[in-house]
């Protein structure tokens, strides 16, 4: 089983996690920029964090044979702190980097006017840098937040296929499926989604346009939930090819829209050769 975890916060994880992930088939991942638990109070904290996402963390991942990419954005929670607003000004520098394959996580936390502005501004940046977008949906008032998210995405004019709406569940999946956006699911030990509930959703909605992630971070979470979901799919009668589509080919297709995925040395090299920046000019 080859796995591409499309959403995991490795900055918060140990080398033991990297080793376990590699042993369970994880060969590539995307680490979205998000909040760190402890609120940040200055732009400098973000810049050092972004530098880690394009510097130290890919280096750490490479020691376990895992290809590391990231997404860059001002997250919705900290978008509400005026001291963090200037982060928007440094984003263009980072959105130009090779290792940055999407704008994210953007979206709503408390659905404030500030979040509205920052979300819209970053959708514009996604257009300018021709990048896909990773949208976080709120934990509170999730259904209403998801509806509002889809409205804003529609108004932005971005093609729905360039957007993944993440942290979906049984209540919010239908609306996103109908919108044409990609559907993201975070498989957690207790909350969000679990492998068996995910299997039920896959039965109902099929295996296309679906991304399954562990969203493992600094909270109670598990970087091997992607693998557990693959096992649950097989136990439920899905084929190896179905599992490969959900856990590998789908994230490669979604983030591959950036033209910046570098899967050199991974199992994908043969199947997705056109996207390796190491192969020469793309022009």
């Amino acid at each position: 089983m080859r796995i591409f975890d499309p959403h995991i916060h490795m900055t918060s994880r140990t080398t033991d996690d990297y080793a376990a992930m590699a042993a369970h088939g994880v060969q590539a991942l995307v680490e979205p920029a998000f909040w760190l638990g402890q609120p940040r109070t200055s732009v400098g904290s973000f810049v050092d964090y972004f530098d880690a996402l394009i510097g130290w963390e890919p280096f750490r991942a490479s020691q376990f044979g895992i290809r590391h990419h990231c997404t860059i954005a001002l997250n919705p929670k900290e978008a509400n702190d005026p001291r963090c607003r200037e982060v928007l000004d440094v984003l263009p520098r980072y959105l130009a980097k090779d290792g940055v394959v999407a704008v994210g996580e953007v979206g709503y936390d408390s659905m404030t006017a500030e979040e509205d502005e920052v979300f819209a501004a970053q959708l514009e940046l996604a257009k300018r840098f021709e990048l896909p977008v990773l949208v976080h949906t709120p934990h509170r008032d999730k259904a209403a937040g998801t509806t509002r998210t889809l409205d804003v995405v529609r108004e932005s004019g971005l093609p729905a296929g360039r957007v993944v709406v993440d942290h979906l569940n049984e209540v919010t999946v239908k609306e996103v499926a109908d919108s044409g956006c990609w559907m993201g699911f975070s498989i957690y030990p207790d909350t969000k989604m679990d492998p068996d509930r995910m299997v039920v959703i896959l039965r109902q909605f099929g295996t296309e346009r679906i991304l399954v992630n562990s969203a493992a971070d600094w909270g109670k979470s598990d970087p091997l939930r992607t693998h557990a979901t693959g096992q649950a799919m097989l136990a439920a009668g899905f084929t190896e090819d179905d599992v490969d589509q959900v856990l590998w080919r789908n994230p490669v297709e979604f983030y591959g829209q950036s033209g910046r995925l570098d899967l050199t040395g991974s199992a994908a090299e043969d199947t997705f050769a056109g996207n390796s920046i190491l192969r020469g000019a793309r022009s």
Binding site: W56, P92, R93, A96, D98, G280, A281
Partner: protein, 191 residues
């Protein structure tokens, strides 16, 4: 002791002009957004002169930039950008632009724990500009981090008695722990 083999050393470019890189495709756009995206445009094929296409293009872009601009590109650079800037410091015209300010970049790279940056920091610019104490610590860090000493431009020329003492102490510490002493340290332990 001889240095490791250096393919193409005889015609190693000394200036950005000698690199022969065409950067006209990047004209008229902000350097802060162009510089990170260079590889996606020109690729990273070897040019046969010790440089890759993206390294050469980045060096050429730097030759049109100011000292502060180069420092800022380094500050916000990803690993590939930083490696390209560190490599470009060996070119005469780039060295002229940055002057002594290149030291801050070299020292930043030496502080990291990334072997690639550490090795790239210790090129000809560091050989010419790095103070002795910093150079010795950086060389010892290479030994710790597994960077081959053949990658350090300033060796063996800058291996003074103090550096040899530090190397001997390191070797003694390793032997006391029953651990191996890196092969490429041997020539420095022999007198």
């Amino acid at each position: 002791m001889t240095r490791g083999p250096q393919p193409g050393a005889a015609r190693r470019p000394a200036t950005t002009a000698a690199l022969g890189a065409d950067v006209s495709a990047f004209a008229g756009r902000p350097l802060a957004e162009v510089f990170p995206a260079v590889t996606r445009t020109v690729g990273k094929g070897a040019l046969g002169n010790g440089w890759t296409a993206d390294e050469a293009a980045r060096a050429t872009l730097l030759s049109g930039a100011g000292r502060a601009e180069i420092a800022e590109l380094y500050r916000f650079g990803d690993t590939a950008e930083k490696l390209a800037i560190l490599k470009a410091l060996q070119l005469e015209d780039i060295e002229q632009i940055v002057g002594e300010d290149g030291l801050a970049l070299v020292e930043d790279a030496i502080r990291t724990n990334d072997q690639r940056l550490l090795a790239a920091a210790l090129g000809p610019y560091a050989t010419r500009h790095l103070p002795a104490a910093t150079f010795r610590q950086a060389v010892l860090k290479c030994v710790f981090a597994g960077v081959p000493l053949a990658a350090v431009d300033g060796l063996p020329a800058r291996a003074d008695d103090e550096l040899k003492r530090m190397m001997a102490d390191f070797a003694a510490e390793r032997r006391a722990a029953g651990r191996s002493v890196p092969e490429d340290l041997q020539p420095y332990l022999e007198r």
